[in-house]
């Protein structure tokens, strides 16, 4: 018993002795906002400082020249002419409520057109010649759902170790039902010779609330830092959406929609980054990430089919450059390393970050 009391007293004394290092509402530290705004990566904590506002705007240009099949083999899309590009726009805003609590919201917009291999059907007889070419394009376009999140970190002054936990929810704010297709018949050279251009319009919303849980850990040793994270995303419930079908009658498309149910896959995202703070305003790092989706199903004609499990490992050389106290520019180049049932895009991702303390002098 005495031993337990002694241990408790020792712990309390340790906490009190470390008191100056612990943030509290009663402490009035001298806060120079320019020092905080220009804090190098290797010296800053995992969340924003109290009163700090940060807004990011990013653009990712991705070239999908290949993909990984079910066995993890790379499949060249360029050679078959079915390569495609992504245009991905990203925006988020975060605010440091306390030195160890941060609130944020983020959304994105994507535009991605995927062409399938064109096929021509030819039927020639003594009396007629039919030649029908079929082109198919699937376009994914639109805003993603808005993610509202909160992050807490250890309530200690950052020196060499930090740990954070994040919780959030994707509110189904974006359009998720497939838009009506815009198929066209062109190049009509004869009664039965023409080109069919299928164009399917997909959206980018989940359609149901999705929860997000994440954790980050950061270690610093002089100019070197190591940051690792794990993120888990899971849907709150099943969703219902529509799928458009079409009939071609006398070269005119008649569309009708069918309702179907679905359950989004769970997604795991792990990343590990090694940072080197070259100077106070320049941080260079390499990030390795692994994304995996499991579970979930989609209904087709009344039957539930399990979603394919996907996996993608990327390596990203990146830099973060402080332009001015309020402005930072970041750039990543992403190279796909391995994966399964997944696109394998190469991308360039540029982000401009604006940061300030709007309510402090």
């Amino acid at each position: 018993m005495n031993r337990t009391i002694n241990i408790l007293v020792a712990v309390i004394l340790l906490i009190f002795s470390a008191a100056p290092e612990i943030y509290s509402q009663s402490l009035r530290e001298e806060r120079d906002k320019y020092t905080l705004l220009t804090m190098p990566y290797n010296m800053r904590p995992l969340t924003l400082y109290r009163g700090q506002l940060k807004a990011d705007a990013g653009y990712k240009f991705a070239v999908k020249g290949r993909k990984f099949d079910n066995d993890g083999n790379p499949v060249q899309l360029r050679t078959s002419g079915t390569g495609s590009v992504y245009h991905y726009y990203f925006a988020d805003i975060r605010y440091g409520l306390l030195d160890f609590v941060e609130l944020g919201a983020e959304t994105s917009y994507i535009r991605h057109g995927v062409r399938s291999e064109s096929v021509t059907y030819t039927s020639v007889s003594l009396t007629s010649a039919e030649r029908v070419t079929v082109n198919q394009l699937k376009e994914i376009k639109g805003f993603s759902d808005i993610l509202f999140n909160a992050t807490v970190r250890l309530p200690i002054k950052y020196k060499w170790f930090d740990l954070s936990a994040k919780g959030g929810i994707y509110v189904p704010s974006a359009e998720y039902k497939q838009d009506k297709p815009e198929h066209r018949i062109t190049n009509i050279t004869a009664a039965d010779s023409y080109t069919v251009n299928y164009k399917y319009n997909y959206t980018n919303g989940f359609g149901v609330p999705v929860y997000l849980l994440a954790s980050q850990v950061k270690f610093t040793f002089r100019k070197l830092s190591l940051q690792a994270g794990l993120t888990f995303r899971t849907p709150a419930r099943e969703g219902t959406s529509i799928r458009w079908e079409e009939n071609l009658v006398e070269k005119t498309f008649i569309y009708y929609d069918q309702s179907y149910k679905y359950l989004l896959s769970d997604a795991w995202f792990a990343d590990l980054a090694v940072h080197y703070q070259a100077t106070g305003w320049f941080d260079i790092f390499v990030n390795v990430s692994r994304e995996k989706t499991t579970g979930g199903w989609t209904e087709y004609w009344g039957n539930k089919y399990k979603n394919r499990e996907t996996e993608l490992i990327m390596i990203e050389p990146c830099f973060e450059l402080q332009i001015s106290p309020s402005l930072t520019v970041c750039q990543n180049a992403g190279f796909p390393v391995a994966g399964k049932n997944s696109d394998a895009p190469f991308y360039l991702f540029t982000t401009i970050r604006f940061s300030n303390f709007p309510f402090f002098r």
Partner: protein
């Protein structure tokens, strides 16, 4: 008379004595040549100083995904074709005098077009796959440009620079290494001489600079094969080209510049064998080009992206540009 001479002497002497004080706001900081060579795109002289040499490489990359139709609508290319184009442009600039510079540039082209299409033939119950592989690699055309400061920036708030450009068709103009109708090497040159000229105006309100450019290019008649099935070269003349640009550049700090440019290009219809042809249609495009330019002493690194906003009969995909320059 002697009295007036004395008064004049006093006035001259006082003018010389007080001049530095009266004109203190007008004194221009004299920069050393080393400092001039380290200036950014906002503050650098509009043409190179006498004897200065600037060399650089400009790389641009584009993927064929969307285009502007004849009606000005942005659409995806309908069939499955994968096209990329990279151009590596090497430039060499020399300051002949403080107001005149000459530029020589050449380019290495690397363009590719790949597709795969399948045809099902009912009569024979067979399927045929047609694979297209076309690449165009090699040295492209050569360009010579002379710039002269008509209204030099040392004397005027807005400097105006005139330029004369000459394009020399040094690149291969015809399809080569024809292995089949689908597999051959694409041309990398335009196949015709072109002469152009224009004006470029710039004013600096540090940390900003504003620019305006107007250029006209006339292409001469040339001969080349448009299709691999062409037995002999066909006479053609590309349409006249008008380029307009409006720019605003901003110093984000002492060595990083955020550049912004709005550009408009109008290319008139061209002729083939003396007649207007669908091979050389009228095209125009309006684009926005934001960029970041980093000046690290004499070394300059820049990246920008040209985003086509509106257009007709032209590519609608972003063009990525990376630039590296060094002043000797």
């Amino acid at each position: 008379m002697v009295k007036y001479t004395h008064i004049l002497k006093y006035l001259s002497a006082s003018a010389m004595f007080f001049a530095p004080f009266i004109c203190s706001g007008q004194v221009e900081k004299q920069l050393t040549p080393a400092e001039i060579k380290q200036q950014t795109i906002v503050t650098e002289p509009v043409t190179l100083k006498k004897g200065f040499i600037r060399s650089g490489m400009l790389t641009n990359y584009r993927v064929a995904d969307k285009y502007f139709t004849d009606d000005g609508i942005k659409e995806y290319y309908p069939s499955n074709i994968w096209g990329t184009k990279s151009v590596y442009n090497l430039t060499f600039q020399y300051g002949i005098s403080d107001r005149m510079e000459v530029e020589l540039s050449t380019e290495y082209m690397n363009s590719r077009q790949e597709s795969q299409k399948t045809e099902f033939i009912a009569a024979t119950n067979t399927a045929k796959t047609v694979v297209t592989r076309q690449k165009g690699t090699g040295i492209g055309d050569t360009y010579v440009k002379i710039r002269y400061q008509i209204f030099p920036e040392t004397s005027y708030r807005v400097s105006v620079t005139g330029n004369i450009n000459l394009a020399i068709p040094t690149g291969e103009k015809n399809p080569t290494d024809i292995r089949s109708a689908e597999q051959y090497d694409l041309p990398v040159g335009s196949g015709t001489y072109a002469l152009g000229g224009g004006l470029f105006a710039r004013t600096i309100f540090y940390p900003y600079s504003f620019t305006f450019g107007l250029n006209y290019t006339y292409s001469f008649t040339g001969r080349k094969k448009f299709e691999i099935t062409d037995i002999r070269e066909i006479e053609f003349q590309p349409g006249e080209v008008l380029n307009l640009s409006l720019g605003a550049n901003l110093h984000l700090n002492e060595w990083i510049v955020f550049s912004n440019e709005l550009t408009y290009q109008h290319k008139d219809k061209g002729t083939v064998n003396g007649h207007y042809s669908a091979l050389l249609p009228l095209t125009w495009s309006a684009s926005y080009r934001p960029g970041l330019v980093f000046q690290v002493r004499r070394f300059r690194l820049g990246e920008s992206v040209t985003i086509p906003v509106k257009g007709k009969n032209t590519a609608a995909d972003p063009l990525y540009i990376v630039m590296a320059q060094y002043v000797f």
